[in-house]
Symmetry: C2
Subunit: 435 residues, 2 copies
Amino acid sequence: MTDLNITRVDATEADFDTVLDSMLAWESVSDAQMQSTVAEIIAEVRQRGDAALMEYSAKFDRFFVNSMAELTLDAEAIEAAFNRLPEDKQQALRVSAQRVEDYHRHQVAESWHYTDETGVVLGQQVTALDRVGIYVPGGVAPLASSVIMNAMPAKVAGVSDIIMTTPAPDGKVSDFVLGAAFVAGVSEVYLLGGAQAVAALAYGTETVPNVDKIVGPGNAFVATAKQQVFGKVGIDMIAGPSEILVVCDGKTNPDWIAMDLFSQAEHSHDAQAILISHDRDYLDQVQASIEKLLPTMERQDTILQSLNDRGLFIRVKVLDDAKALINRIAPEHLELSIDDPESWLADIRHAGAIFMGRHTSEALGDYCAGPNHVLPTSGTARFFSPLGVYDFQKRSSLIGASATAASELGQVVSVLARGELLTAHARSAEQRIDD
Amino acid sequence: MTDLNITRVDATEADFDTVLDSMLAWESVSDAQMQSTVAEIIAEVRQRGDAALMEYSAKFDRFFVNSMAELTLDAEAIEAAFNRLPEDKQQALRVSAQRVEDYHRHQVAESWHYTDETGVVLGQQVTALDRVGIYVPGGVAPLASSVIMNAMPAKVAGVSDIIMTTPAPDGKVSDFVLGAAFVAGVSEVYLLGGAQAVAALAYGTETVPNVDKIVGPGNAFVATAKQQVFGKVGIDMIAGPSEILVVCDGKTNPDWIAMDLFSQAEHSHDAQAILISHDRDYLDQVQASIEKLLPTMERQDTILQSLNDRGLFIRVKVLDDAKALINRIAPEHLELSIDDPESWLADIRHAGAIFMGRHTSEALGDYCAGPNHVLPTSGTARFFSPLGVYDFQKRSSLIGASATAASELGQVVSVLARGELLTAHARSAEQRIDD
């Protein structure tokens, strides 16, 4: 096993900015070969529909079927999978789904309108999307929580048809994932993966209905396909590797912090775990906890590579200096392992989710605290938000002018539209001006 | 001049669905040459900064400068441009800005939090983006309204730094556009256009600060550049040609409707104007108005081509049948030129903006009614919303668990995380479970 070697830096050192920038740097590589492979898959699915989907399932998932019915699970099949789960998993999925639902109800936007002093009715009508698609990756880990986090905001928004696709390598699909689909209100599941699943959701086939928006994580093929169909349908944000920033005053059990850092590092070799403290001794203690605990971890190889490649311990002069670093890093997950985390909130401008206090592990948020675990990564919390109900609602502007108001405002339109040389616009408004 | 030849179809005919689908079809062409030209421009600006910008201004805009100062307008210069405008334009810009500001204030989202029965503090902190960039096209028409519509939601959201870029062909820039920037609260203007302006906003140069989000319309170079920098920064929606769907009960002055259709058709040859009525005679009357008025229009060539290529008159059996067509078309602009438009709202699921009643011309919404004129096109109102304050705010989830709550919920995390084979997640939560 390679030695542990986490980069440590002092924020007062001259080269600190350079080191931090280079550690934070992460850019998705756009590969021309990948782009053209995905474009071809999408074109095939658009042209040949179900036939192409069944061929791709055989080719990529070694799942040989004679009809789309074998790739389709209806509500009954989804419920049956839930019923096959052991009691503790059923209960945990139910608790998670309920808590996520409760939280997301606070995000529902309502329609509104008012009449202004000119006599114009103005407003916004808020409606849910009709039909959405959730992509759930296959692979080793059955991502039940991902199903709940992606489907529940759609359910709360009032989306009537929530479709899920997930690959079934060798024809196998996890009851845990299907059970999560049951508690999250998924309408039907198609056992499809990769770019072909995204293409089917975007354009529809004889069997798979086309959706209005596609969300959920996936490999490079899935991510590229989502980018290519963006505009035809909506997509969620573009996700990079997961990250955590822990700020600690030195009074939290260092084993706790070590394990919190591991919980991000275990995601992938390019995940990023950063710890900030003013206390050098405390950073040493966490380092010692990491050395002690790492050999006990199932995913120690991934954790080690992540910590060595992208892990970072930052010593600040005083803990308050961490605030500026938080806003500069704009972390996906921020743990404030300090005494009075609420007092910091007003100074925090950019973070996906803020975990307040020593007892609030980031893992709570991943599974069952209530807020969404789909969060902006790689500094994009500067402009992206957590996945939410607002991603599954859309708005229509409402404008209703009385004859008087149309006459009055028509004169303003006339000046502006003629200034822009758009005379049909001008005359459309002018003809409603009273003589 | 080519003859007027608007497609007319009856919704009761057998081939109606096919005709409608083919008339609505519109897909942006993604050109590999364009992609690579834009990628090269972006790379040049990232590598050589201001020097590249000055070279591109000379090459593309015939604007030869010795320093970036000549491409930079500060707040004083922006105000001076406003002061050079004639009184009627100043006044019209002020009215428009004020009305747009008033409407958008209704969209501001506030932070919220609550403590649930488990003792977990849950909430969402809403903050404005720090700095945004507005792209304003050059060309023949000085798009003052576009400046107001793109900048004002950012201003209302509380964005502290609103930067505008606009090309200055031959060194010329419109006082009307700069005057709009003044009333809309733009902080500074850079006289830059094309993909190079987008690159400068996304990555920053020695002079141009990098922004968090780029919004505003542009030509194919600009649109392609925005797609390429998406992820590094946020962007607004992908816009297609403008469209209008007018539903009329046959009781509105046909000249009014003809001019309303012109007001979209004058935008571009691929803009789309559709009229639906149950009344064949009325459709004939609007046709006659179009024939009468078209020769009087400044932009008659564009209008004629738009109406011939993409214009559509649809006769429905009864007017209520229009509701299903509205939701199928999901129009950018919907004019309900009928007696009681409010009674239709509950049935309308997809539309960018709804103009209610005979007096509410679409042009009112373009300039000064209050709602935004940046709206989803080409059926994307199924999942996109008008540009709004929500595009310039983002959210951070808040989670604060007491020791008791962390212990209780830790047991749920344990089951779910172990079910997903993510044992560091599990142990991170488990270590906070009370013995």
